[in-house]
């Protein structure tokens, strides 16, 4: 498999140029969609973080007895 990084970068740049050139109303509608996606990702990331926190040290080690 060939891997031409320069070509990939250039194609990404071209896609960004095309997106930038779209009508403003269309780009604002894209922002709405992007925000919804970002919120979904954030929710998933928060859920993952919560799960990771459950795997942290058990409480008895966090609060050692003082006697």
């Amino acid at each position: 498999m060939s891997f031409d990084l320069q070509r990939i970068i250039e194609s990404k740049r071209e896609m960004r140029r095309k997106l930038a050139g779209r009508p403003v109303a269309e780009k604002l509608a894209m922002l709405d969609a992007l925000r919804d996606r970002a919120r979904t990702i954030l929710k998933a990331a928060t859920r993952r973080e919560t799960a990771l926190l459950r795997e942290s040290q058990p409480e008895y080690r966090v609060n050692p007895r003082k006697d």
């Binding site: 997106l19 930038a20 009508p23 109303a25 709405d32």
Partner: protein, 178 residues
């Protein structure tokens, strides 16, 4: 809560300006940048406002904005007013650069709705002045997209004492750019 998207938020802000709640508004931040660049995900909308002040009033009062928008379905959450999931932040100009950006903002037609937005040069200069990682990334987008009018941008940098900061930015990010 009413269901609105960004273009409907713009209509609402236009009405708010026509009703005299704000003297002038302009869209900045990532949403403002979208008028010139490709859209980039953002979670909030920054709207810069000049608000009418009573004689002798020293502190800016954003309550009339909050009252106006909450009466139309907005929900105040800390510094934001949430309009159907879009947290909108109203920002009074805090520097001469932002004051100038607000004064020089241009009106763009969005499918028949006028929207006032900072110029690309002011958005880039504000990003340079603010200087967080995401601001630097936005500034790079502006440079790469080639939408900045060099003469105008340079004049803003000189007027607002940002030349050294630009040179530093240039040294760090633009020397190796293909």
């Amino acid at each position: 809560m009413i269901d609105v998207s960004i273009d409907q938020i713009i209509s609402l802000i236009n009405r708010m300006e026509a009703d005299g709640i704000v003297e002038r508004y302009a869209i900045g931040g990532a949403v403002g940048a979208t008028f010139y660049l490709e859209p980039v995900a953002t979670l909030d909308v920054d709207i810069f406002v000049a608000v009418p002040q009573k004689p002798g009033q020293v502190l800016l009062d954003l309550r009339p904005i909050h009252d106006y928008l909450t009466a139309r379905g907005g929900v105040v959450e800390g510094e934001y007013i949430v309009l159907a999931g879009w947290p909108v932040q109203f920002l009074p100009p805090t520097s001469p650069l932002v004051e100038e950006a607000l004064a020089d903002a241009v009106t763009v037609d969005v499918d028949g709705t006028p929207a006032r937005v900072f110029t690309a040069e002011h958005l880039a200069a504000v990003a340079l002045q603010t200087g967080r990682a995401k601001d630097k990334a936005r500034l790079l987008q502006f440079v790469e997209a080639g939408v900045l009018k060099a003469e105008r941008f340079q004049a803003i940098l000189v007027l607002h004492g940002l030349v050294d900061r630009w040179r530093e930015f240039e040294r760090t990010f633009l020397r190796t750019m293909p």
